[in-house]
């Protein structure tokens, strides 16, 4: 009996190891998979091409007229062509330190994911605070998109920070430079082209007995007209599973401009409700008529944005 019991023990441990010396998941299989993902993507791309082209022409029109519309740019001076060159990696003295992998459909006006891949070993980052600032060279806008956080552990499954993920939203599109700071010092930066999101007025949808304007199931406010210069109450609804929020802010950007207005802020955004929707009363006033994008931030994080018309 002892012999076969010993046998039982060892097979349970032996089975943990793979039975093959080499992997049968070959480079050939791997590349076939990557090839086939491209094929699917291309089919979808052709369909989207027409839409994108129209969008590009509109964006190009807006972009060229921005400098004339935006008084701020006159104070900044000449922006270097080099500052506007899209660059996904950063090298210092010939050594590549950082690569960024943004969403291929990167656009402003909503929270988007970024993956930063750092090449230096973990010791270069451990215990230091890491922050990310987004800079819009043309307007000079500087936004702290990822507040300083202490680096305590490497990326899951890796030895260093090869998969540092973060997400945040930007208020408007264009060329943005992302500066990574370690302990307050600029460590590396990358430059990305962020698409301008749609300026179509956000639709209304019914909820309970109200009509909300925004994105159904995500966020909205009880619809009421916007009159330039006039304060009005708007009840925000956030579909965030009713989680508690410490700080709620609404900022706004006017179509064609890069100036960010603070519209509303509260540190006591009411009770989280039981039906997975957070209701936050607010008082908002927009200064000028035109098309505006409202940018709500919950605890410093942009969720999505709502486009409204101000009369």
């Amino acid at each position: 009996m002892k012999d076969s019991e010993h046998l039982k023990l060892s097979w349970e441990n032996k089975l943990r190891e793979r039975p093959f010396r080499d992997s049968h998941f070959t480079e050939a299989i791997r590349s076939k998979v990557m090839q086939r993902t491209k094929l699917r993507k291309n089919k979808l791309r052709y369909a989207g091409a027409a839409v994108t082209l129209a969008g590009c022409l509109l964006a190009a029109g807006l972009y060229t007229s921005w400098d004339y519309l935006n008084k701020d740019s006159f104070g900044i001076g000449i922006v270097n062509q080099e500052d506007l060159r899209v660059r996904h990696s950063y090298a210092r003295e010939g050594v590549e330190l950082l690569n960024v992998y943004p969403d291929p459909y990167l656009e402003a006006g909503r929270r988007m994911g970024y993956m930063f891949s750092f090449t230096e070993p973990f010791t270069a980052f451990k215990g230091k605070s890491l922050a990310i600032t987004a800079v819009h060279p043309i307007s000079g806008t500087r936004l702290v998109v990822s507040p300083a956080q202490e680096v305590t552990h490497p990326s899951s499954g890796y030895e260093g920070l090869e998969r540092y993920t973060t997400s945040f939203g930007l208020p408007f599109g264009g060329i943005w430079r992302y500066e990574i700071e370690l302990d307050g010092q600029t460590y590396a930066d990358v430059v990305l082209s962020v698409s301008e999101p749609s300026w179509e007025i956000s639709p209304v949808f019914p909820y309970e007995m109200y009509t909300l304007r925004g994105k159904k199931g995500e966020l909205g406010f009880i619809d009421a007209p916007f009159i330039a210069g006039r304060s009005q109450k708007y009840m925000w609804h956030l579909w965030n599973k009713g989680e508690a929020i410490g700080n709620f802010q609404v900022k706004a950007v006017k179509q064609g401009e890069t100036k960010i207005y603070d519209i509303f802020t509260t540190d006591s955004p009411g009770e989280a409700s039981s039906d997975r929707v957070h209701r936050i009363p607010s008082l908002m006033k927009l200064p000028e008529p035109g098309v505006w994008r409202l940018l709500p931030y919950a605890d410093g994080q942009m969720v999505d944005s709502i486009v409204v018309e101000v009369k």
Partner: protein, 188 residues
């Protein structure tokens, strides 16, 4: 087990990079599982490709209801079982009816287990009935806890436990028999 970074990505990340990572981390495990279930290397080649294509399409909808590993193995299992169903039908209907021939030759698609220390053990595992083979491998080779096996196989915890118990007994019996046979041959 450490939480895979896929659980923490906000929507909109670069799928190509994540897919490449997943293939590096789990490609071998996926291929092996397809092979363990189908016992055919060509099937495993095809299935492992299909699995990662499905993963690519469903990447944005992964909500972390299971671990990344269980998720991948679950897709692999579904594809493998599908293959076995259609292969069986093809074999029974086409081969038997059209050629009137009994399936006698061993599968040419079997791959040799080339690690000497564990070869005999794995040969036994491959001879286990499918239901026993999969619980044994999911638990002892892939290290999935019972709760994850329950989700993956869509059966109750009680069924998992009883199947595991019977599978272990069967495997032990096979190994003992194999050992006896070995001793007998040595004795000759």
């Amino acid at each position: 087990m450490e939480r895979h970074y896929l659980h923490d990505l906000a929507p909109g990340y670069d799928r190509d990079q994540v897919l490449a990572d997943l293939m590096t981390e789990y490609g071998e495990d996926v291929w092996n599982f397809a092979y363990f279930l189908t016992r055919k290397s060509h099937a495993a080649d095809d299935i492992s490709q299909e699995v990662f294509l499905v993963v690519y399409n469903r990447l944005y909808t992964f909500r972390g209801e299971s671990t990344v590993k269980s998720w991948l193995l679950s897709i692999t299992r579904n594809k493998s079982l599908n293959y076995l169903k259609t292969a069986f039908i093809r074999k029974v209907i086409l081969v038997d009816v059209l050629t009137n021939r009994t399936e006698s030759s061993p599968s040419p698609e079997a791959v040799v287990f080339d690690r000497m220390a564990t070869k005999e053990l794995w040969d036994c595992v491959m001879r286990l009935p499918l239901k026993f083979r999969e619980v044994i491998l999911l638990h002892y080779h892939y290290g999935l806890p019972n709760k994850e096996i329950v989700l993956l196989l869509q059966i109750s915890e009680g069924t998992v436990k009883s199947r595991m118990y019977r599978a272990k007994n069967k495997l032990s019996a096979m190994l003992t028999a194999q050992q006896e046979e070995g001793k007998y041959h040595e004795g000759l």
